[in-house]
């Protein structure tokens, strides 16, 4: 059923595990970018890569609807599986659906206790046991160090990998000493991996600012294919 090679060449595999082995256990990563540069696309690729490697992904979307999140998965899935025979693609689509759950919250509703409650519902009732959680739309500008650390503790206690997206603003020029931009500059220590998307002619580049898992040497720059928002090789 799984098709590791399929994803290896097309998604963020290199960021998603230690070289030569599958990553497990807690790890917290963040994709930082200004609006419209493709944060969700990157998160969805990370999620798909996890799914194709046999792990369950909980996609938490804050402030966006279920349909929008689904549409991202459908689009990315098409890019990844476009060359496959129709029956194989249909089989994989079914597999993705079984191994992914999307949870959407209105901004005002989302909180760490709420997330814990929902995760407990899923796990204790054996409805869905995630290995990886991606959180799209979390408002880092309104959260302090303790709050994010608390979420990290929760994920650690459940042995979950977690990826966030963070919205940066052109006007906010603050950066940490490692070069991690606001709004995550003050909480950079909490993340094992930090990726920043930057518009740089002729397209958008993905900068790996920090990676404690040693998958990638910090400073690595990858280009995104502007039509599909997938990471180009090289």
């Amino acid at each position: 059923m799984l098709d590791k090679d399929l994803v290896m060449n097309k998604t963020l595999r290199i960021l998603n595990r230690k070289q030569g082995e599958d990553s497990t256990g807690c790890r917290m990563g963040v994709v930082i970018a200004r609006a419209g540069l493709g944060k969700t696309a990157i998160l969805v690729q990370i999620a798909l890569d996890n799914i194709f490697h046999g792990r369950n992904v909980l996609h938490v979307s804050v402030g966006e609807g279920l349909e929008k999140a689904r549409a991202w998965y459908d689009d990315m899935f098409l890019h990844v599986t476009g060359d496959l025979p129709a029956d194989r693609a249909a089989e994989l689509a079914e597999y993705v659906q079984r191994n992914r759950m999307i949870m959407t919250f209105k901004e005002a509703v989302f909180s760490r206790p709420k997330l814990e409650e929902r995760l407990n519902d899923l796990v204790y009732q054996d409805i869905f046991r995630p290995d990886c959680v991606v959180v799209d739309g979390f408002d880092f500008s309104a959260a302090d160090f303790d709050e994010v650390a608390d979420i990290k503790d929760l994920m650690s206690s459940m042995n979950l990998q977690v990826w966030f997206s963070a919205l940066s603003h052109r006007a906010d020029q603050r950066v940490s000493k490692e070069g991690i931009p606001a709004p995550c500059h003050d909480i950079a220590d909490l993340f094992e991996t930090v990726i920043v998307l930057k518009p740089e002619a002729p397209g958008i580049n993905l900068h790996v600012i920090k990676d404690e898992t040693a998958c990638v040497v910090p400073g690595k720059v990858l280009a995104l294919d502007p039509s599909s928002m997938t990471v180009q090789e090289g």
Partner: protein, 693 residues
């Protein structure tokens, strides 16, 4: 004959269950003076809403059959079809949308865009029906029309533009602000019948101005005149209405109005909007197929002087015989006219012509283009086209979904037996999604339809309207079978038992068909099977498709290719080759790894967030795949795909899990293979049943 077609509006009212469609229609009829008292759907007076004329509808508080009525507003005739909200009666909604020119999509200001609203919107899009949105129940706790308008944009993909703002919300709802007139509208009098225009309350003025700007921006896209006037600060009411109308008719704009039908607020401006923004019959391009000219598309002209083209979209068997609801597209029909059913070629004379008002009727002499009327005593099927004798046209047919659930019914006595037949005869004629047949093996009468409620209603109607008491068996899912790989066959049918014998050999292969149900391909060369017996092979395969060998379910998604065979000069015949094809199919089928498919339903369960875990757990236990959840304030929607076989009796389970606070809707999504363990059970049950016979 003078016929002012610009003054006709044919509209439908559609929405998610319990959004207030019937309540709104009741107000419309009251304000247009078609009725003189308002009765509520579940009112204490026990009368029930005017449009819910069936006893069952009144008791259950739901609309089962779409009902037609008409009224007059601002010198216009408005034909209204009130449609059911429950997805089991979706054919009623489809029928209505096929013949309507415009629609009002009602949304609940608390529930917002719910699952059925998405279905209804999709249906409206399929039939290219321009629509206006009415956000109802603004008097309810938790009302948030702004959020609902956002959902209309995000979930329905409509370019929603607010035409009004509410003045107050929940229990403080006092009226609405008209953003075109820039006036406050209040609804005075006991039943809100007196409209009073006033200045916009000072505390809402800034917001009203901001929203009007948005309205002007959106509407300007459809009118250069308005754009220029807006830049100069001189847009007029007429300019805005004309631009919004243009955008709406082009399906590129959805005007949004607000109010509370139950509290009698916002209904009259909604009627104004129907006149202002929804199309007259002449604004919509309708096409027919010219049967005399190789089915070429032909645009109908809504001119009363042209030959008649009309569509029968709904049948009803009433006290006075069959009543046929007809929409005329071109020409006119008069009492005494002779018209032709283009499907059967049969000529019929129009005896009585009536205009329907719920279950009451008004005799009329004639109906012009765009009218919705009913004819008496005409034998036809739903979807038939009636024309003048000099033309042969057919309107395209309606989308009719396949039934997904069936059950056996057994009459309790002889009297019920006869009555049951009469009832089934009528129901199947009225409703193409309701089907019935006698299982030749069990001799049981099987009824099939779109859901438990659908069949439940018909069983109840048999009892009430036809005194036919029946015992219903357990609901059964409409399984299907298909093949998963290519397999070859080479079968000889040979019989020699005195007299003329039978001989036929059919060889070839079968393979899965990606799209469609069945395809027959003839690749015979050199006359291995004589030409006259090729169609016999096709017939034999078609016969085999009726019942698969795994669960006795219809076989779909199969391409049968014949490429070799043999015939005998004397013993080969049509029957011999049909039987040879049946044998060949059987031989190939088992090698082609057949699987059983079951209907999968898209389920949306909505309720307070505290029950989210319980709801997800219950769907998970039913082999459901949770697609996702949407949590807003204290309310959560859980969406899942669940096999229909696991959903029987779910409403009771959900009620008890959530203290009656959650509800669910479901609609057919797709056929998917059943898991192995379940397939084994289904096969076992089928074999046991077969052995019993």
């Amino acid at each position: 004959m003078k016929w002012n077609i610009d003054k006709v509006r044919n509209i439908g009212i559609s929405a998610h269950i319990d959004s207030g469609k019937t309540t709104l229609t009741e107000r419309i009829l009251y304000y247009t003076q078609r009725i003189h008292a308002i009765h509520e759907v579940r009112g204490k007076d026990g009368v029930g809403a005017t449009m819910d004329s069936m006893d069952l509808e009144k008791e259950r508080g739901i609309t089962i059959q779409s009902a037609a009525t008409y009224c007059s507003w601002q010198d216009h005739t408005v034909n209204i079809i009130d449609t059911p909200g429950h997805v089991d009666f979706t054919i009623e909604v489809e029928r209505a949308l096929r013949v309507l020119d415009g629609a009002v999509l009602i949304l609940c200001s608390v529930g917002g865009v719910q699952s059925q609203s998405i279905t209804v919107n999709r249906q409206m899009t399929r039939y290219k029906v321009p629509r206006i949105v009415f956000i109802n129940k603004c008097d309810r706790t938790g009302a948030n029309p702004g959020r609902v308008a956002r959902q209309v944009r995000e979930k329905l993909g409509l370019n929603a533009v607010m035409m009004q703002l509410p003045i107050g919300l929940e229990s403080d709802l006092n009226g609405v602000i008209d953003l075109v007139k820039m006036k406050a509208i209040y609804f005075d009098g006991d039943q809100g019948e007196t409209i009073r225009y006033d200045e916009i309350p000072a505390d809402l003025l800034a917001e009203a101005e901001a929203r009007r700007e948005e309205l002007l921006d959106a509407a300007s896209m459809f009118s250069d005149e308005l754009m220029e006037a807006a830049l100069e600060g001189t847009p007029t009411e007429e300019m805005i209405i004309a631009a919004v109308r243009q955008g709406t008719l082009a399906l590129e704009l959805a005007p949004v109005l607000v109010g509370s039908a139950y509290k009698n607020k916002g209904v009259q401006p909604l009627l104004d909007a129907v006149i202002n923004y929804l199309p007259a019959p002449a604004d919509i391009e309708n096409t027919a197929l010219d049967m005399a000219n190789d089915e070429q598309e032909f645009t109908v002209v809504p001119d009363p002087e042209k030959p008649l083209i009309s569509l029968a979209f709904k049948l009803e068997d009433g006290r006075y015989g069959q009543l046929t609801y007809v929409r005329t597209y071109q020409g006119a029909m008069k009492k005494g006219d002779t018209i032709v059913n283009s499907r059967t070629g049969k000529k019929v004379k129009i005896g009585r012509l009536v205009r329907m008002h719920a279950n009451e009727m008004e005799e009329i002499e004639q109906a012009g283009p765009g009218d919705i009327v009913a004819l008496f005593g005409i034998d036809c099927a739903s979807g038939d086209t009636f024309t003048s004798p000099e033309v042969s046209m057919s309107m395209s047919s309606m989308h009719v979904p396949e039934p997904v659930i069936s059950l056996a019914i057994i009459p309790v006595d002889n009297k019920s037996q006869g009555n049951m037949s009469k009832a089934l005869n009528r129901f199947t004629k009225e409703d193409p999604t309701f089907k019935t047949f006698v299982d030749p093996e069990t001799n049981e009468t099987i009824i099939s339809g779109m859901g438990e409620l659908h069949l439940d209603v018909y069983i109840e109607r048999m009892k009430r309207e036809y005194m036919a008491e029946v015992e219903a068996g357990r609901p059964r899912v409409a399984y299907r079978e298909t093949i998963t790989r290519r397999a070859e066959f080479n079968y000889i049918h040979k019989k020699q038992t005195g007299g003329s014998g039978q001989f036929g050999r059919v060889a070839g292969y079968m393979e899965p068909l990606e799209e469609g149900e069945y395809e027959f391909v003839d690749k015979i060369v050199g006359g291995a099977i004589p030409r006259e017996f090729i169609s016999s092979c096709d017939k034999g395969f078609t016969k085999s498709l009726q019942k698969g060998t795994l669960a006795g379910a219809p076989v779909t998604g199969v391409r049968c290719v014949i490429n070799d065979g043999a015939a005998h000069a004397v013993d080969s015949s049509d029957v011999a080759f049909q039987l040879a094809a049946v044998g060949a199919f059987k031989e190939g089928y088992l090698k082609a790894r057949p699987v059983i498919m079951e209907p999968i339903m898209k389920v949306a369960a909505e309720g307070p967030s505290e029950f989210q875990g319980a709801v997800m757990g219950s769907l998970n236990q039913r082999r459901g795949i949770i697609i996702g959840t949407t949590e807003e304030s204290n309310y959560t929607v859980v969406e899942a795909e669940v096999p229909l076989a696991e959903m029987f009796g779910y409403s009771t389970v959900l009620r008890s899990l959530t203290q009656g606070k959650a509800e669910f809707t479901m609609e057919f999504s797709a056929y998917k293979p059943v898991p192995k363990s379940v397939a084994e059970d289904v096969i076992k049950a089928y074999q046991e049943e077969k052995n019993k016979k």
